[in-house]
Symmetry: C2
Subunit: 200 residues, 2 copies
Amino acid sequence: MNASRLPAAASARAPRADARRSITAILDAGAECLAADPEATVAVIARAAGVARATLYGHFPARVDLVDAVFERVTTQADETLQTVDVSGDPEQALRELVASSWRIVHRFRAVLAVAERELPPGRVRKHHARHLDRLTELLTRGQETGAFRTDLAVEWLVTACFTLMHAAAAEVVAGRLDDDHAETAVVESILSVCTPSAR
Amino acid sequence: MNASRLPAAASARAPRADARRSITAILDAGAECLAADPEATVAVIARAAGVARATLYGHFPARVDLVDAVFERVTTQADETLQTVDVSGDPEQALRELVASSWRIVHRFRAVLAVAERELPPGRVRKHHARHLDRLTELLTRGQETGAFRTDLAVEWLVTACFTLMHAAAAEVVAGRLDDDHAETAVVESILSVCTPSAR
DNA sequence: CATAACTTGGACACGGATGTACAAGATTGG
DNA sequence: CCAATCTTGTACATCCGTGTCCAAGTTATG
């Protein structure tokens, strides 16, 4: 379905500089557009990328392929950013820092996650997301073992709670009901409260 | 657009028993279908209601009208259920009970909320939702005054956190990553941890 | 610079959802 | 029982997004 005029996937070799430029433009625009509107049209994304629709279809045979590529790219970039956070020290402090670094990213691409969840084959999402889940899971588990975090709730739930609260904080900022500074305090403190053993 | 053959909105007076039956059937099916799939088609909903598509359009001139009506109905029913919860006693205990009663409802209709948020004019959602927000806000405020709940975070944020955690728990149950009992414990305990002053 | 690789714009087929329009039949309610 | 009210099936007009196909123009690259 795509081997005639335009190089897609892993057909021949050495894509031209030309093509590479288009591809990254499309991927960038894709991330942007899908983040703003999960139902963004292929046509819209192409226009935003400053490229003809036909060109886009040349590189991504179907919408699904585009979404998948965008999703992969976004998660990869996020991963690179988050790898700079040191999570090996004091669990509580590490969680503070990880959350502070994560919540804006989590937010910026929540919509991309949503579209991926809806349009990609089952499992694909979790696979790409694994790194992030794992990082948090590991930290929380370690914290549970050292007694820094509560053990009466399952790690999986704690992970979910963390992500959820980050999303919520970000959404509130977008809605204008919370400013950046307060949001960061709120999300960090709330998450700590949830993960920490209650002294009540 | 709808005054010729079928009675819509508030046209003439006294709709026939016949019609009232259809309407409630449609509303029920609408809630059901939209809860299962936010993108449920008008045709699907009509079929589920055991009614012809034309009949549905007779009562709800456009998809939007249907969604609005379903949303209103759902929030109203939820409100009736939640009014049975006594929130005048000990704040902590009251919050426990309110959350326990709420999260299943929140869950059952989270998708309806989603569709309403996407298809209804801005503001419409918050208006219908006001009762629920208010109830929680009131309780939390009272608790802050009596010292039962933390005051270092704004009530608005605490409200958001509560709703968010309920949604999350519901979503986990749906995804099969959490069973009902554990979910209830998790959501109640987590919310309490967030709202309660930290003794750390 | 010549050739292969890439882009472009527009036309088109297709499917699915929305909303309109009727004419004929079934119910209801006074 | 009769007239107004409802329902139904079906057909149709529209719009919109996806994906395909080309022929002609551009651009990169050995």
